[in-house]
């Protein structure tokens, strides 16, 4: 205890770009850990929870949300410049979020125009894109929103100057640990095998199919899984449309050849 003052607390910034703020909220909502967090790091900027941010050098920046305006892009680049380590947290930051579901289809400009008419905005709107579309990302904490246990385990590693543990397993892993009967056996549209796990199989635990909100599981057998779902009477377009709801930029690479 004597050398408590000597502990150098890492300087942390927690930022939100465009999204639902769910990942920041997970931090705020984790009542058991939030006081520990404020005690063990030096929070320089966390606008959602605290006034008077100091925007200087950071050890770790956590960025939530997709890049959706020019202004956000500048902000992100500035954060990257100031932060030794940048962590993308949540589906919007990792994949682009639901707002990126039409990526590559070229409909964004028309949709904006349809919606806002010819308004001149303060900053140019951009189609939602993941953080790593613009800057280098050191670590990813997936989720929609992130899982508190996983996020705090990652934060704790970063506090100690080391790297978070990846969890490269499908939703099915925890689904079985939670002793759920596989929904695929009842021919239900479950995206578990092709979806990144870590959510503690929240949906199958309630007898509901995984909607894929954590984005693609890189080891997923997309081809076979699509065939299986088709054998349940679902059309290919239907499957692709659904998996793109949360797949953003990242899903395209896995389904391009299907």
């Amino acid at each position: 205890m004597a050398n408590e003052q000597q502990i150098i607390k890492p300087k942390i910034g927690i930022y939100g770009l465009t999204g639902c703020a769910g990942d920041q909220l997970v931090i705020i909502h984790t009542e058991d850990e939030i006081l520990n967090l404020f005690n063990s790091v030096d929070i320089k900027s966390f606008v959602m929870a605290s006034s008077n941010p100091e925007e200087g050098e950071l050890d770790v920046a956590f960025v939530e949300g997709s890049v959706s305006t020019e202004e956000e892009l500048h902000h992100l680049k500035d954060i990257r410049k100031r932060a030794k380590i940048l962590v993308a947290m949540g589906n919007c930051a990792l994949c682009g979020g639901p707002q990126a579901m039409y990526t590559g289809d070229g409909t964004f400009d028309t949709r904006v125009k349809q919606v806002y008419g010819d308004v001149d905005f303060l900053t140019k709107p951009l189609e939602g894109a993941p953080v790593d579309a613009y800057v280098e990302v050191d670590y990813y904490v997936p989720g929609c929103p992130v899982d508190a246990k996983q996020l705090f385990a990652a934060i704790a590693r970063l506090i100690h100057g080391s790297s978070p543990e990846p969890y490269p397993h499908p939703v099915c892993h925890e689904c079985k640990l939670n002793e759920n009967k596989c929904l695929l056996l009842d021919k239900k549209f479950c995206l578990g095998p092709v979806t990144a796990g870590g959510c503690n199989s929240a949906c199958p635990n309630h007898g509901l199919p995984c909607v894929g909100c954590w984005g693609p599981n890189p080891d997923g057998n997309f081809k076979e899984h699509f065939e299986l779902l088709q054998s349940f009477g679902m059309t290919k377009e239907d499957i692709v449309r659904r998996i793109r709801n949360f797949g953003g930029h990242k899903i395209l690479e896995y389904i391009k050849d299907l």
């Binding site: 607390k9 850990e33 520990n36 506090i159 543990e165 499908p170 596989c182 092709v194 997923g220 057998n221």
Partner: protein, 343 residues
């Protein structure tokens, strides 16, 4: 081994009496899934032979738990999961599966967590009738001769009770009045009939005996590629298989600046991509076919160093569970007939 007889009407009271030997565990329904859990009311026990989704291994090799805590001073093991337990309703295949897991976990140096849980748990086996996918007759695990403290065979109005240990004997002594040493000729006849009736109930079987050779001969078969293309790598087969024992360890720091935290252990699966991944990165089993080969080698050919026995105990859970029909039946069938299953 002593065999006794008990009138069925005493069952409930006898099971209740076992509470003095530990907390009761057994198959009960929870959220529409049959699971091994703490039994508050013995009426909740499901003793008719239905399989739990996750096998009994979870009581001895917990799905997820903290093995130790660490701090500046080092590591302190966590044994808080140890308690006296009585597991009621283990099927013959469950007991066989524990005997297989013993070979892994109790071989020197023994896994202290498994050992502690095993030593503190009495096993009260119950006979069962085959389910749709039971294969234990093929694997020779439909009956059990050891590995229990008591074993109950349900002959409707009576139970024949095998006493398998001195603890089992103590349990009987507590309720001596329920048991009858006098097993009659008629009882024996009834038992034999029951065995025959049970044997006739198996709907499925597979060529378990020849599989070690067939597996060896088929190592390079393109049939593996057929299954590999189908496998979703969901890992379900490994989670539900009672003889899968793999796990991973992860250190988790507490949210503090001090060196404090826990070493967590979670079931792992050889079907997952990072199972054999080492630094480099070099992946010894990046291909799905290699992952499947490993699993079926373990189940149908041999496992665990000296023991060299196939690990499958014929519970049929992989048949129940795999969403794309990869299981010991389809694998055995494909490699025996050298044909992939028809679509």
């Amino acid at each position: 081994m002593r065999i006794l007889k008990m009138d069925s009407k005493y069952l409930k009271e006898f099971l209740e009496s076992l509470r003095m030997f530990g907390k009761l565990y057994g198959p009960i329904w929870k959220r529409d899934v049959l699971t091994h859990d703490h039994v508050e009311n013995v009426d909740d026990l499901v003793l008719d032979g239905e399989h739990t989704l996750i096998p009994v291994k979870k009581l001895f090799h917990p799905k997820r738990f903290n093995t130790m805590r660490f701090n500046e001073e080092g590591f302190t093991p966590n044994y808080s999961m140890f308690e006296k337990r009585v597991l009621i309703g283990a099927h013959p295949c469950d007991i066989h599966s524990l005997l297989r897991l013993d070979e892994v976990f109790l071989t020197d140096p023994a896994d202290p967590y498994y050992k502690g849980l095993r030593e503190n748990t009495a096993i009260i086996g119950f006979s069962c009738l085959p389910t749709e996918n039971s294969l234990c007759r093929s694997t020779g695990t439909d009956i059990v001769e050891s590995g229990f403290d008591l074993f109950f065979v349900d002959l409707e109005d009576i139970y024949l009770v095998w006493v398998g240990s001195s603890l089992g004997h103590d349990m009987i002594l507590e309720k001596e009045e329920f048991f009858d040493e006098n097993v009659t000729h008629a009882d024996i006849q009834k038992y034999i009939q029951w065995r025959e009736m049970r044997n006739d109930m198996f709907k499925k079987s597979f060529n378990f005996r020849d599989m070690p050779d067939i597996m060896e001969l088929s190592y390079n078969s393109e049939i593996w590629d057929y299954f590999a293309e189908k496998c979703l790598s969901c890992g379900s087969c490994t989670m539900v298989c009672p003889t899968c024992n793999c796990y991973t360890l992860t250190d988790v720091f507490d949210v503090t600046n001090k060196t404090e935290g826990r070493r967590e252990r979670v079931w792992d699966s050889c079907m997952f991509v990072d199972y054999s991944l080492v630094a480099g990165p070099h992946n010894f089993r990046g291909k799905r076919a290699d992952r499947l080969k490993l699993w079926y080698t373990h189940k149908l050919k041999a496992f665990g160093g000296e023991y060299g026995r196939p690990a499958c105990i014929g519970c049929g859970r992989c048949v129940d569970t795999c969403p794309v029909d990869i299981n010991v039946l389809t694998i055995a069938e494909a490699f025996t007939s050298c044909e992939v299953p028809a679509k």
